[in-house]
């Protein structure tokens, strides 16, 4: 009973001014199973927030909720103060939320350039009549779009530009992951959701991806990063949120989260957590002794 009351109170959490994205008491249940439960989350412009958690913790469900692929069972989603709860994915993209997918979902039989141009879709004003008659504004816009698409592709050094006219399916695995980021970036998002951008990459490719993500981060772009490679998350994120069984179990700076008992328990189990806690205590004691 007490728990229920507590949840109710968090569901009425206040709207944070200045937050680019905020979720309040976000919950998604599939049948009786709550995949995401009562999550309060916020991110400000320019921030990189890592979302970690064991398999099945609800990270991808959380992304699917924010991008409108799932309708939340309860809770609210605000983008720049506007309530966008339950809106369609294309409307959320217009609001500035773009994403990549854990299992790459490129348009395989389109060229690399066209994939990026699809990302640019919402910025094009041409409609049916302009498209058919190829009116001068449409032509101009298309040229501009192409230029802009190349600009985006160039952010990825020479990984994508030389393959501009090749089909996306023919790219190397790591480059396909990069192309997904390029496609998302083309829509000039305010918030970029990266769902395991380095999964399946070798160390060199991972390093390259990290460098590129660091390059695209700017004061206007907030990034939420789901990642299993903890060194990647910890190295890049301003803040880390930890999910387990659909609930937020910890939040804080990378260092805070790393030493959080609940987090260690979630990842390693209760027994290992106890050992780890002991180790941490010993480390702290040593550090103190060293001083």
């Amino acid at each position: 009973m007490a728990v229920a009351r507590e949840r109710l109170s968090t569901a009425q959490a206040t709207v944070q001014p200045g937050a680019l994205l905020q979720t309040i008491g976000l919950t998604k249940s599939f049948g009786g199973l709550a995949a995401v439960q009562n999550i309060d989350f916020h991110i400000s412009p320019g921030e990189i927030v890592g979302v970690i958690g064991p398999n099945g913790a609800g990270k991808s469900t959380f992304f699917n909720l924010i991008t409108g692929l799932y309708k939340p069972t309860r809770g609210r989603i605000l983008v720049a103060g506007q309530d966008v709860t339950g809106k369609r994915p294309d409307i959320l993209l217009r609001a500035g939320v773009a994403r990549t997918f854990q299992n790459i979902r490129l348009f395989q039989n389109m060229t690399v350039l066209d994939n990026v141009l699809v990302g640019y879709h919402t910025r094009l004003k041409s409609r049916l009549v302009g498209d058919i008659l190829k009116l001068p504004p449409t032509r101009r816009e298309e040229r501009e779009a192409e230029r802009r698409a190349f600009e985006v592709l160039r952010l990825f050094d020479d990984r994508l530009v030389p393959h501009s006219y090749e089909l996306a399916r023919n790219l190397a695995y790591a480059d396909r992951r990069l192309l997904e980021i390029a496609r998302a970036l083309a829509s000039s998002p305010k918030l970029l959701l990266l769902d395991e951008p380095t999964v399946g990459m070798n160390p060199a490719e991972t390093e390259n991806a990290i460098r590129i993500i660091a390059k695209i981060r700017s004061a206007d772009l907030a990034i939420i990063l789901i990642e299993h490679k903890l060194n990647v998350v910890m190295g890049m994120s301003n803040r880390v949120v930890v999910l387990d069984y659909g609930e937020k179990i910890a939040e804080g700076t990378p260092r805070e989260v790393q030493t959080n008992e609940k987090v260690i328990e979630a990842y390693l189990g209760r027994k290992a957590a106890a050992q780890a806690a002991a180790m941490l205590d010993r480390r702290d004691a040593l550090e103190e002794a060293g001083q």
Partner: protein, 406 residues
């Protein structure tokens, strides 16, 4: 010493090589097409042959329309003949002696009197195509949530509904008992459709003007098909076909994009319907059966799903088969039968086995050349002259050739 940083040599994209081929291909086709009736003069069969070729042109229009829905947007439509019927019947009703109004009215677009209704062909060619496009939206709306097999079943149903409605709104149906007039002519067909004139040229039984009219309409449709393919909308269609979910996440409104695909597909067949109705001066339900929908689909698959030249070729092959090769083959069979005295060969009628042959062709295509005769692997790269300069420019700014400071 001058240091030369070589710009990496990228393989010229395949579309560029194709672009030249394509321009030459279409140019040659157009010239041959324009001179075609003249070439027939010596054969002495100019009317028969041209008539069949016009049928081929109409097939090509239909195939190009279905290609928008099936090829570009990836939505399987098995009731496509319905839109053909809507174009033909709407024009048939508006420009024939089927209805004999008691009042009179006159305007540049449409006039009516006791002799019937006269609609301006050129204006209503567009208007009826737009009506067909509207019906495309109407069919599209309930199918938005459907995919694959289920979509095919609903479109199949729609095709049958239109066919049955056309049959049942004729004379002698139960509807007439309620005092309804005969609207579509039913199985008696709707006849007496007026034929247009263009300056001094009166369209009538002479097939040559119809041939050129068909060629003009077909050319317009081909240009529109290419424009759509290389546009914001065309990209959205392909993206939707490739991955609906990812497309939605990239800001594509799936509802509008799907509806536009159905609507544009129907638009093309509306043109075909008007031309066909006016040329034959009659429309009959048997022209719009499920078999027609399937034939059009065969043209698209045979030629290459999503490929404009492929689809036109597919239509040409089916027309050739239907109007010429099958008859020819029949004659040879009969001749062989008579010579060798084999009863079966003397009496075989291959024109009756048309759909069997289509089926066999499809099976063969699926086994040996699934992408069609003219595949569309570089489908969206064909007619874009802007690309060359952009690519050159991009390469230049990226890898500038420095001839050294020396």
């Amino acid at each position: 010493m001058a240091t030369i940083v070589r710009a990496p040599q990228y393989r010229l994209p395949a579309w560029f090589q194709n672009n030249r081929r394509l321009t030459i291909g279409w140019g040659t086709t157009l010239i041959i097409a324009l001179l075609f009736p003249l070439m027939l003069n010596p054969t002495g069969h100019i009317q028969d042959i041209t008539g069949d070729v016009v049928e081929g042109e109409i097939y090509a229009m239909l195939a190009l329309g279905l290609n928008v829905v099936v090829g570009f947007a990836g939505l399987l439509d098995l009731g496509y003949a319905a839109f053909f019927a809507i174009g033909a019947y709407s024009f048939g009703m508006l420009s024939s002696s089927h209805f004999l109004p008691s009042s009179s009215f006159s305007s540049p677009f449409i006039s009516w009197g006791p002799n019937g209704i006269h609609a301006n062909f050129w204006f209503f060619l567009l208007a009826c195509a737009m009506l067909a496009a509207l019906f495309g939206l109407i069919l599209g709306a309930p199918t938005l949530r459907l995919r694959g097999d289920y979509l095919a079943i609903v479109t199949l149903g729609f095709g049958e509904i239109v066919h049955k409605v056309v049959v049942n709104l004729g004379p002698g149906s139960t509807i007439n008992a309620f005092g309804w007039p005969d609207i579509t002519g039913g199985t008696n067909s709707l006849d007496g459709i007026f034929q247009p004139s263009f300056g001094p040229v009166q369209f009538s039984t002479d097939q040559v003007p119809w041939y050129y009219l068909g060629l003009g309409v077909l050319a317009v449709i081909i240009v529109i098909a290419y424009s759509l393919q290389n546009s914001r909308l065309g990209r959205a269609w392909v993206a939707m076909r490739e991955d609906e979910l990812a497309a939605a996440c990239m800001g594509i409104n799936l509802r509008n994009t799907k509806l536009l695909a159905f609507s544009m597909g129907a638009f093309f067949s509306g043109f075909a319907g008007v031309v066909q109705g006016s040329r034959l001066t009659l429309v009959d339900p048997s022209q719009f059966t499920f078999q027609i929908s399937i034939s059009i689909l065969v043209m698209v698959v045979l030629g290459g799903i999503g490929s404009v030249p492929g689809v036109v070729l597919g239509a040409g092959i089916i027309a050739l088969l239907q109007f010429y090769l099958l008859h020819q083959l029949n004659d040879w069979m009969h001749l062989a039968g008579t010579t060798a005295n084999i009863g079966l060969l003397q009496h075989i009628d291959l024109t009756q086995a048309q759909y069997l042959i289509f089926g066999i062709m499809l099976v063969i295509m699926m086994i040996f050349r699934r992408e069609g005769l003219i595949p569309s692997s570089q489908r969206r790269r064909e007619l874009r002259p802007a690309d060359e300069s952009v690519l050159a420019e991009e390469n230049q700014s990226l890898y500038t050739v420095r001839s050294g400071e020396a």
